[in-house]
């Protein structure tokens, strides 16, 4: 059965605005499940999901795992450090083995751009990209959109600036595609050495100074500065980065309007973002984390064939998925 999203979720670039809105709308009823005493519905009962993390990750892996468990799926976690990858197994061999185990879905994080596409082309199971190299991190992009929508309602005409290392950021790419599809004006701000040369061709504005970005934007999505970028010579030091590009309280106080502060985490406090901003009144960073579970539940539900119009019912345990009657989990 082909889902409303197709077989896989590989990125936000291939999705239509309708598909993105469908995921966000489906996520809405799932938010409430996390508030319950018994945080579980049977929407994916009997489904087997493998969380395949070739790169270390804490929050994304845990978020997916919570989403899967709250939908009653059976899950297996595989980390690269404990897998055959260390013995030299190729990704294609991994894919063939997974296929032979008759699983239903794979959530994969991988260090190579395109790895999720590679896997999706070779297995029948649904593939969800949990971050592939510097390409995309679609569920992060979706949770960012949900968080913005919670705050602003309709996003059309809003302005979001993505700040920092756009060059190496899969989050930035998913954000750019997703935001643009929903009618948001997008800008990037960061040292030119950390922006792709061709970034203007994405249809985004380049704002050279963080002060101007704060003046322009309704929301800033502040990216983590990876420390290895300093040793690779992209910037001189984290100290200088903070002084030139850091989102500080002093800078934020000069904003002409209330400005939303987002960060995909983990944060380098005192580098790209100051603590009193991260923990301050404009920050929705923890809302992003909460929304992550709902968005991932929505993606899992839709890819498994769940019908969007029954998401509310599925939440209550009376929806249908693939013809199977749903009942509230005990």
């Amino acid at each position: 059965m082909t889902s409303a999203l197709g077989k896989d979720l590989l990125g936000l670039e291939p999705l239509s605005s309708e598909q993105i809105l469908l995921i966000l709308d489906t996520a809405e009823p799932f938010k409430e499940i996390s508030e319950r005493a018994i945080k579980k519905v049977p929407a994916l009962r009997g489904q087997t999901i493998v969380n395949l993390f070739f790169e270390s990750s804490t929050r994304t892996r845990i978020s997916f795992e919570f989403a899967e468990k709250r939908l009653s799926a059976d899950t297996v976690n595989v980390a690269a450090s404990g897998s055959s990858v260390l013995k030299g197994e190729t990704l294609v061999d991994t894919a063939r083995n997974l296929e032979a185990m008759r699983i239903d879905m794979v959530v994969m994080r991988h260090g190579a751009s395109g790895a999720a596409q590679f896997l999706a082309e070779r297995i029948e199971s649904n593939v969800i990209n949990a971050g592939d190299g510097t390409h995309e991190h679609p569920t992060q992009g979706l949770l960012d959109l949900l968080t913005l929508r919670d705050h602003f309602g309709d996003l059309k005409g809003r302005r979001v600036c993505i700040c920092g290392d756009v060059l190496h950021s899969r989050v930035a790419r998913s954000n750019i595609w997703g935001l643009q599809k929903l009618g948001v004006e997008v800008a990037v701000c960061g040292p030119r050495s950390l922006l792709p040369n061709a970034i203007e061709e994405f249809g985004v504005r380049v704002i050279p100074r963080i002060e101007e970005a704060i003046e322009w934007a309704d929301a800033l999505n502040v990216l983590r500065l990876q420390l290895e970028r300093m040793t690779a010579g992209y910037i001189p030091s984290s100290r200088e980065y903070n002084r030139v590009f850091g989102v500080t309280r002093e800078r934020l106080e000069r904003a002409p309007r209330d400005i939303l502060i987002m960060h995909p985490g983990p944060m380098n406090r005192g580098v790209e973002i100051d603590s009193d901003v991260a923990d301050g009144p404009h920050s929705v960073i923890l809302n992003q984390v909460t929304n992550g579970i709902a968005v991932r539940m929505a993606v899992l539900y839709l890819l498994s064939g769940g019908r969007p119009e029954l998401a509310e019912a599925a939440k209550g345990g009376t929806g249908r998925r693939g013809g199977a009657e749903m009942t509230e989990a005990a």
């Binding site: 670039e13 190579a112 751009s113 395109g114 596409q117 590679f118 790419r173 040369n197 061709a198 970034i199």
Partner: protein, 446 residues
Amino acid sequence: MPELTRESKPLLLTGGRILDPSQNLDESGDLLVQNGKVEAVSGRVGHADDVEVIDCSGCIVSPGFIDVHCHLREPGREDVETIATGARAAAAGGFTAVCAMPNTDPVTDNQAAVGFVIRQANRAAAARVYAIGAISVGQRGETLAEFGEMVGAGAVAVSDDGRPMVSAQLMRTALEYARTFGIPVIDHCEEPTLAHGGAMNEGIVSARLGLKGIPAEAEEIMVIRDILLARRTGGHVHLAHMSTRGSVELIRWGKERGINVTAEVCPHHISLTEERVGAYDTNAKMNPPLRTTSDVEALREAVRDGTIDLIATDHAPHHYDEKEREFADAPNGIIGLETALGVVVTHLVDSGTLDFAMLVERMSCSPARVFNLEGGTLRRGAEADITVFDPAMKWTVDPSEMLSKGRNTPYAGMTLSGRAVCTIVGGRIVYQMESPAAARLQPARS
């Protein structure tokens, strides 16, 4: 020069369009081959009864194509290609001679290794295979290899291809020393710190796919360095697989000043752009990478006006499972011997950039001249290295039908125009398509 066994029976190629830019010849008629040499070329050739007649009507009879840049993987990776399979693939593509790059395992960096290549080529008895020796011992870029001994053993050029010559000083010395032997020094132009970690062209597509890009300047910086060193030394630098508009402009600058620089382009760089990478298709991964439409246009024009001297394949077979992996980790390169003619006809001739005489010049006469090789002409008495090709034959690229062991081609499934139907080396037929006339009638599979 590699020798091939000759058969004494004369060959008569009848009714073809004989096209030989080396003597401004373009006429319909017959060509007689006797004792391995071109015996006569004219409207009607008288001949003895005991002659094998090949009907070439509808086809072009030209001097044999010469590929100055291919990777035959032997010794070291015989599972991927051997000199024998590579030579047969060359013959099937219309090439009567190819030059094998030295980045084998072990590296072809001494006379014994050169001798091995030539012995294996003679045993294969298909297209001629010339050896290119390494510039530096082990291709490590540190110490010059023994050019003199390698040339004595049959090497026709030197190159560290697969790796750029990072040391400007060693490049300078190589150009000076190679003058002694009258051979070109071939450079793989790539500034390594700029190209480092790059998997495709740097631009909008690499930014979108999240792949590290290789900027055009990585090539162009080395191109201008090599041209300046050629000017300083008077040596002959041959620039391999040019891929950017900027490189073309720099080569033009060098040639206008009389500097001894020659250059080649590969069929893929004049027919495909970075967009071909699509959804991380590793069959579009090569080094230098596929560039932009603007680069393709500049390269086509450079082939037409002679700024780029010749077309070479950079035939680079890989085992299928080496390509079936994450894009950034997959090896660079595609096979090219069997598709080169079709790609050039389809993308340069059919588009009006080249006529067939220019195609023959860039694929046969010029390579022979630039690398000082036999061939590249149908003059009476020349070695009978001849390509007969059907310029209009439509065919669909099917990797499973390739004679190369490699299957890694981005042209799979594409319909091309132009195909070799008969390849003759030293008067001996080394490849003949079954019934070319019948093949012409076959509709291309879509």
